[in-house]
């Protein structure tokens, strides 16, 4: 178990990132360097935010790109992007949504016909990226909000976990349309992202309650529905999301409360995974340290030979805990994810 913990790629946020990397940052486009630093410091966080930031950075890269002589744009640009992508991966492992966005861009680039002039090709690519953001993220959010509002009734008590941009959007839309409900925001250490969601909802005027995840058994009897966001939906129906989501789904199931997951289709991915250990991201373990009543218990944990801290970022929720997945293609059960993936792949061909 100890070896397993140590074998994950751990990093501490205190050490500057650029000293630890193997690729010299001189050959990387400055927009990408900035993006990498923002990822590793946690300034840009959240699946959608990271994808949009990535696409904007790529737009910058493409505008600044000039095809060298004797090279074709469609092949050379893809090769140029490879080191950028591994740089970003080293700063922070790529999310499933980012992976799908990159796949899309690479496909678009290789489909550029060779007779296109450079300016036209660049304009086309920039247009494609704009379309992707517009369709897959912005419009998808609108469509999901529209279907979700049907599921929110007056007098509902809705439980949300952490800060999902999509779920916040849905709740704000429903509130604007005049639905009467109240929200319970569940939060967990060490990230305490729920406070951000709390701020956004309270600003809108929604009445909220706030608890930590250990109190979820106390608060669940009051809840009528649980809305969860997702980081990715895996091909075997498992939902990959912020750590703690599977727990909330488990307790909700025990209390017979419906669990609805909201996820755009661009986050569906081909991977399969059955537990949270085989592939996960580790966060800075020093975040777990806390000072209470003047005492910091775990201050020198690194000196103690037998003590370890584990700070997981994601976990997977089995499909039997999830009652419904709301996507831009409609409301589907968890088990239909591979069907959607197949349909999408056929479309792209």
């Amino acid at each position: 178990m100890k070896q397993m913990v140590r074998s994950f790629l751990t990093y501490s946020r205190k050490a500057p990132l650029t000293q630890q990397l193997s690729i010299p940052s001189a050959v990387i486009h400055p927009a990408i360097v900035r993006l990498g630093l923002q990822y590793s410091q946690g300034i840009v966080a959240g699946s959608n935010a990271r994808s949009i930031a990535l696409l904007h950075a790529f737009k910058q890269v493409i505008s600044d790109y000039t095809t060298p002589s004797n090279e074709e744009l469609s092949r050379d640009l893809v090769n140029k992007l490879k080191p950028y992508i591994s740089f970003l991966n080293q700063c922070r492992p790529l999310s499933a949504s980012m992976g799908n966005a990159i796949k899309y861009i690479k496909k678009e680039i290789s489909n550029i016909p060779s007779q296109f002039k450079e300016d036209d090709a660049k304009k086309k690519l920039l247009n494609c990226i704009e379309c992707f953001i517009e369709e897959k993220i912005v419009l998808a959010a609108k469509a999901i909000a529209k279907s979700s509002i049907e599921k929110i009734n007056d007098g509902d008590v809705i439980l949300v976990y952490g800060c999902s941009s999509l779920v916040n959007h849905i709740l704000c839309e429903a509130f604007e349309k005049g639905r009467k409900f109240r929200v319970i925001v569940v939060d967990s250490r060490p990230r305490l992202e729920g406070r951000e969601a709390l701020r956004r909802l309270v600003q809108k005027g929604i009445s909220c309650t706030y608890v930590l995840i250990s109190a979820v058994s106390y608060i669940l009897p009051e809840v009528s529905k649980v809305f969860l966001g997702a980081h990715a939906l895996l091909a075997n129906g498992y939902v990959m999301s912020r750590v703690g989501t599977s727990q909330i789904a488990l307790v909700a199931k025990a209390f017979n409360v419906p669990v609805l997951v909201c996820c755009e289709t661009y986050k569906f991915c081909e991977r399969v995974q059955t537990d949270s250990f085989v592939s996960n991201e580790l966060d800075d373990p020093d975040d777990l340290i806390v000072t209470r009543k003047g005492e910091t218990q775990l201050k020198d944990w690194q000196q103690v030979p037998r003590l370890g801290l584990l700070n997981l970022v994601y976990d997977v929720t089995p499909p039997d805990f999830v009652d419904l997945v709301i996507t831009d293609l409609g409301m589907i059960p968890c088990t239909s994810v591979p069907v959607v993936l197949r349909v999408k792949n056929v479309d792209l061909l």
Binding site: L198, T209, Y210, I213, S217, Q247, Q297, L307, L309
Partner: protein, 355 residues
């Protein structure tokens, strides 16, 4: 004069104990473990028996009940106080019955047969005076105190039967009983412990530092990672604040999630609880079951702008139903949750359930 002087001394001690209880529960005073509270309660009751003037068992029981009600009212969530009072009341009944010469079985439980033949409740008004009663009661209370001293060790002695090498054990928060249990097993076996920190008080951190100092491989995880990590765990061993009459638990918050995760992965859930934590309460009293502390632990005052518009809850305890528990380990051995009602009838008399 020795009489009144001793009585004021006694009242002082009782008052000091009551104010200690009141302060300890709000989290501001020094946190005391349940074993300490049980010992102090029993010592105080012995003092009351020795010093207060009483002539018959009935009088003594009245005095103890009165003081007992005051003590439980000082800190309703500290059930060990009430439990010890009920134990002492049962001791008094037993000693009285022994002095009278009637057998122990006679007034054990009420059976249908007894109800029909005796024509109503048995006439026990405890009015007879016995010279040796005081000495007997005090001796029995001393035995109870010795039993209390040895509970943690008795539980820890059973550790080697339940933990084998290379196991991964999960626990939550900080329980002195579980700490002693694991440390005893660690003398002969090598295993790994995962501690869930149990926010917002994060007592899991203290537990982890203490265990790792004794040479046990420990990992601290957040409460949110309990289900994620459960697939790697072989056993879950927890402590509890109270064992309820139906075999359920009143334990620190987060325990219900832990129990559900263990059930989902079919991992055994073992509860280490000494007998003095057994309480005749049932979990259906909505108002008295939960205890809350200051919500500033959850959402601090630094979040000023949203504080006034948000409801914040910080419950301290969780209810865990008996179906999720595999085994209770107490100082008298291991039991299934379905056996708890029987143990209760041996420890407490049914008329004392309501103090």
């Amino acid at each position: 004069m020795p009489g009144p002087y001793r009585e004021t001394d006694l009242t002082e001690k009782v008052e000091a104990f009551l104010s200690d209880l009141k302060r300890g529960g709000s989290g501001t005073g020094p946190l005391r473990g349940s074993a300490e509270t049980a010992r102090e309660t029993t010592a105080l009751l012995r003092r009351i028996t020795a010093q207060v003037r009483w002539s018959s068992a009935g009088d003594l029981m009245e005095v103890i009940r009165k003081e007992g009600r005051r003590m439980s009212a000082a800190q309703p969530s500290e059930t060990t106080v009430g439990n010890m009072i009920r134990r002492v009341l049962k001791i008094i009944r037993e000693e009285y019955a022994r002095s009278r010469g009637s057998s122990e079985e006679a007034d054990q439980q009420e059976s249908l047969h007894k109800l029909l033949t005796s024509g109503g409740l048995s006439e026990e008004n405890f009015r007879q005076y016995f010279t040796a009663l005081k000495a007997n009661v005090i001796e029995a209370i001393n035995e109870l105190l010795t039993e209390l001293e040895g509970t943690t060790d008795n539980i820890a002695m059973q550790a080697l039967e339940h933990i084998h090498s290379n196991e991964v054990i999960m626990t939550i928060g900080r329980s002195r009983t579980v700490e002693a249990f694991l440390k005893d097993a660690a003398r002969k076996r090598k295993f790994h412990v995962i501690v869930a920190e149990c926010a917002p008080f994060c007592q899991g951190h203290e537990m982890a530092t203490s265990l790792s100092k004794d040479g046990i491989e420990t990992t601290v995880i957040t409460d949110a990672a309990i289900f994620a990590v459960m697939s790697r765990v072989n056993k879950v061993i927890i402590g509890t604040q109270t064992v309820l009459a139906n075999g359920g638990l009143r334990a620190v918050n987060g325990t219900h999630t832990l129990a559900l995760a263990a059930k989902h992965h079919s991992t055994p859930l073992i509860v280490c609880a000494p007998m003095f934590k057994l309480s005749p309460q049932f979990p259906n009293e909505e108002d008295t079951f939960h205890k809350f502390v200051s919500p500033h632990e959850v959402l601090p005052f630094t979040e000023g702008e949203i504080l006034s518009k948000v409801n914040v809850h910080c419950p301290v305890f969780d209810y865990v139903p008996p179906e999720l528990i595999t085994l209770f380990i107490s100082n008298i051995g291991g039991h299934a949750p379905s056996y708890i009602y029987r143990l209760m009838s041996e420890l407490y008399h049914p008329e004392d359930h309501e103090l």
